[in-house]
Amino acid sequence: MAEQKLRVTLITGRTIDQGVGKELGKGSDKYFDSVAVCFLDPSDIKKLGLKSGMNVQVTSKYGSVVVKAKKYTHGAIPGMIFMPCGLWANIICSADTDSIGMPTFRGFTVEVEPAPNKPVLTLDELLKQEFGK
Amino acid sequence: MDIAIKDGKIVKKVNESNAKIIDASGLTVMAGGVDIHSHIAGSEVNLGRMIRPDDHVKDVVKKTALTRSGTGYSIPSTYVTGYRYSKMGYTTVMNPSMAAMKAKHAHEELNDIPLIDKASFTLLGDWWFALENIAKGDLEECARLIAWMIRGTRSYAIKIVNPGGLESWGFGRNVHSLDDEVPNFCLTPRDIITGMAKVNTMLNMPHTIHLHTNNLGVPGNYKTTIDTMRALESVYQGDKPIGHITHIQFSSFAGDSWAHFKSGAEEIANYLNAHNHMTVDIGQVTFADTTTMTADGPFEFALYELGGHNKWVNSDVETEASGGIIPFHFKKKNAVNAIQWSIGLELSLMIKDPWKWFMTTDHPNGGPFFHYPRVFAWLYSRKAREATLKKCNKKAQKKSLLPTLDREYTLYELAIVTRAGTAKALGLKNKGHLGVGAEADVSIYNINPETTDIAQTYKPVRKAFGNAAYTIKDGEIVVKDAEIVATPPGRTMWLDVQTKEPCRIDEEMKRKFKEYWTIEFDNYPVTDHYIKVPEKITIKASV
């Protein structure tokens, strides 16, 4: 029986696809495809009753964002999700720095749940929604 | 006597009716100061700046309509460096330690130091190409490669630091005498020193090799220092000096351990008094909370291991050099520190000929350069020395030879060890004097040489040396009453050493280059873009 929600630790970081995407342009499809995603362990995907490519909603204390779910292929990461650094991940990150200038980009708890009916917003849509510009 | 200046040069006379006249009667007039050794720019210096916010916060400099803001203390930011040198009447400074690979950085920084002329010495004593050719015995090819490097890094002299030691430090080791073998290279520090001195002569370099000895900072190292000078005797041709040992205070330690630490100044001074092939600068300790930095990585690690330091930086440079940085507080109450202070002054007073030694603090190692006036006072006033010695560690007081030394420097002698002598040692013919044809770099101090007993009233004189009444750079008044009134950029001097045939830049060399460095051959040399106001000096080599 699939679970509604999973509490997991969020890790953000670079991927080579994100690197290529950002250099092609922040508005490019490649950027969207490589950054508006979230990698999960196969076991967690199963727990949530997801299929790779389905939308999930990731929610933290600081915000909530819909991205595509993907399978993490390099090794087991149960209880963790990985999001490439970029606008989508930053929506749910905190600006708390412990007074040293570095926000909290990773290593905190988030909730992830299937969101089959919610769209993944494009860069422009997301900017409009969050910042009104 | 009048000094006439026109178009940035000192001339016989000018038309007084339309000249600006400075009345310097009752004041001391000297040529602009020439500093032979002061770490003011480059990767190492900047890393030192970067790791010391605690040092900057206690010495801040505000922006004015004319000058930029910045910070001190032990390693002032670039603009402040220029301003402070100028306020002391200095107009030329040698930046003595530049890793070739990081030369662009050094030049970018030098561009941001206004008001002074400057030049850099490239670290070449542990450069693989040089080591390989010296080991092979091919000094001529070595000379051609070094000429290429001097040109390629826009530098002024050959700097050798702990020869062989830096290469050994690549694997965490060091050399401990002139005859230790350098691992993997089949040669000894002695080979490097004498080889480089010969190369320097072949290239007709204006300055000698600029040498930081092996075993620097180790008790008992005065023997190594004397060995080093002896080794160079064979290269001496009887005309002009062929080697310069820098901050020799740190290489004049006697005693077999820190507990039995004492001065080796007498032995060193005696040797120098009896020989003419060397010059030295002191590296005087001024008792300050400063930052030590040198390309001598193993020395800095040893210093770190003595304990009591919170930060240690080591920065190796591939195929060329290493480096280390440690914040260091020289304290009067510390026996070793106080003896080091004494050693510097003992050397200064016991070396008879002022043309053989020069005043430096090895900024920032012994103390920041703007402490020079303090050092002057210790030189020209026995009273000043006694006042400081009295506050020093008791053990150090007992060991100090200073009470036996009566010598007090005259203003003339002071001018030699701070400008005339340094300019001569550097081969800067148009600096360090006020003769016709010299560059119009002049400093005027509010000291009346006729009425002032400088030794007795050392404090106001010291203050005057730190606050020039006028500093004139290339004929332009840049400081008036210790205020900056103009900020010309100053020039960067570099040598275009022309060898009879160029070094072989063939495929083999390029292949090796690719193997040795992580930068492409084409991207390695410093281009003209990196020097804001260049002064190219062309030299014909004899190879």
Binding site: G25, D98, I100, F131 | R49, H56, S77, E108, G170, I519
Partner: protein, 514 residues
């Protein structure tokens, strides 16, 4: 007309690979050799994308409309002078020549000045300020390192050529590339034969039984082999971890504890615990032995340390571990400095002001304090009332709440393309691609200065960012001068402040020698 330009520098990550061969035809890059995928994306495609900004824009009635350069400069200068406390942020994709002007502008404005370092390796710089750093240029590691540790970083993704140019897969003078071994390993899946041979070669005796860990593999016996070895510590297995000899899986946010434990083990001290950060202490002991037995070891660490809990303290302990190891062998540690010229920004700021980032000029002299003057903290506290962003994209890399505060006030951007922050800007400048259309200097992650090349001409009318800044600076000075003359004309309520004199240095600095 086709020309091939050699030794071109890649303007993307801190590796600054300078061996690119670029083919240019009709002022357009059509081919590139030697670069990585990211480099190719930018140099061959990205720089000429349709997302390029070609003229200045100003937001009018909520919409960005094209304006003349003069209008944009005037508007930007007006915003900055009207602001009580502006923030100038970015600088990492600019040449050091531009950064140089940036400091002058900040000083003139009395503003806050920060660079992207504060959200990448600022903590590494701060750690260096606490305890120094034993480090080396990358070539030194290439020539000598027989042990390479990547800690909390994934160069395969973030610095794709780091391993092949500087570390495990490159031939140095004293250490050779392990690439063939790696290929073999892939082919033979670490054949039994090789392991047996390795055991024969080594004299290290392994304990017959070791505690098992569910998440961490035991150290493989190949760690004792001669030649280069690579260990990866990370919270998750990455591509880099896959090519390593040994991957150690670390619990998130436990690096600090592991460094502490490693330090004790390297110093031959015993611990009261059995496992640290999910790793059995016995494994850590073996790793410590491998470190101590290395001829020359190098630790590279990444954002996994600087962005997780502890931040600069994590780095501090990584450095402390390296320092301890130097008492036994030779070890260096180096941050995997990320974006292009972020090291240059630190370098330039430091030589002009003494401080590498997190600067403030409101007092007329430079002040420094990460946590106080870092961009995120200023935005978090809503301290600024105008922002200028140059050659960076905080739009895509700042947390939401910081950006929301930034959006409350005017925003000026200087970027070549419509990245996220340009889209949010109120005054948007176009600029050239530094390193493609604009020459200059950049600093590699090991602070070696490298000259960038100009390989193609920029589109017509698109200036360099240096030129834009100089024009803004000039305009700011004009506006300030006008203000002062205006104020002087009005009846004066109080005395004009006395001309500030530079204090003679004898008083300025605490004199100790006497």
């Amino acid at each position: 007309m086709t020309k091939i330009i050699k030794s071109v520098v890649c303007p993307i990550c801190g590796c600054l690979c300078d061996d690119l061969e670029v083919t240019v035809e009709n002022n357009e890059i059509i081919k590139m050799k030697n670069g990585c995928a990211v480099c190719e994306a930018k140099m061959v495609h990205g720089y000429k994308s349709e997302e390029r900004i070609l003229e200045p824009h100003i937001r009018k009635d909520g919409k960005l409309v094209p304006v003349s350069m003069d209008e944009a400069i005037n508007k930007a200068a007006q915003i900055l002078t009207d602001s009580k406390y502006p923030l100038l942020f970015g600088w990492t994709s600019s040449a050091s020549e531009t950064q140089h002007v940036g400091v002058e502008l900040a000083e003139e404005l009395g503003s806050a000045l920060d660079n992207c370092c504060s959200v990448c390796h600022g903590p590494s710089v701060m750690a260096t300020q606490e305890i120094g750093i034993p480090t080396a240029t990358l070539g030194q590691i290439r020539h000598r390192a027989d042990l390479i540790v990547y800690w909390a970083c994934n160069p395969w993704s973030s610095h794709p050529r780091h391993v092949e140019r500087y570390t495990a897969f490159t031939d140095g003078r004293f250490e050779k590339s392990e690439f063939k071994d790696y290929v073999q390993k892939l082919k033979a899946k670490a054949s039994q034969k090789k392991v047996a041979a390795t055991i024969r070669r080594t004299q290290v005796r392994y304990q017959p039984s070791r505690p098992q860990s569910a998440t961490v593999e035991a150290p493989p016996q190949t760690l004792a082999k001669a030649g280069r070895k690579m260990i990866v510590f990370d919270v998750m297995k990455t591509m880099t971890a896959e090519v390593a000899d040994y991957f150690v899986k670390v619990e998130p946010n436990r690096d600090y504890e592991i460094f502490g434990a490693m330090r004790c083990l390297v110093n031959d001290q015993e611990l009261d615990v059995d496992s640290v950060g999910g790793i059995p202490v016995d494994y850590l002991k073996e790793i410590a032995d491998v470190m101590v037995n290395a001829e020359f070891g190098a630790i590279f660490f990444g954002l996994g340390l600087t962005q997780s809990i502890g931040r600069f303290r994590n780095v501090e302990l990584a450095i402390a571990l390296t320092r301890d190891l130097n008492r036994k062998t030779k070890f260096v540690v180096s941050p995997m400095r990320g974006h292009f010229n972020v090291t240059g920004a630190n370098t330039v700021f430091a030589w002009q002001t003494g401080y590498p980032f997190a600067l403030d000029f409101s007092q007329g002299y430079p002040q420094y304090n990460p946590g106080e003057f870092t961009a995120i903290d200023l935005l978090r506290r809503e301290d600024n009332d105008a922002t200028l962003v140059i050659s960076a994209d905080p739009g895509a890399h700042f947390p939401k709440s910081a950006l929301q505060n930034m959006m409350k006030y005017p925003l000026i951007t200087i970027n070549p393309d419509w990245n996220a922050i340009s889209r949010l800007g109120d005054v948007v400048f176009p600029t050239q691609w530094c390193g493609i259309e604009q020459a200059g200097t950049a600093y590699r992650m090991d602070s070696v200065a490298i000259s960038l090349k100009k390989v193609v001409e920029a589109p017509k009318g698109v200036p360099t960012d240096e030129e834009i800044l100089r024009r803004i600076l000039e305009k700011v000075r004009t506006i300030k001068a006008q203000k002062t003359t205006k104020e002087n004309k009005e009846p004066q309520k109080e005395e004009a402040p006395k001309k500030r004199r530079l204090k003679p240095q004898e008083e300025n600095v605490k004199a100790e020698g006497d």
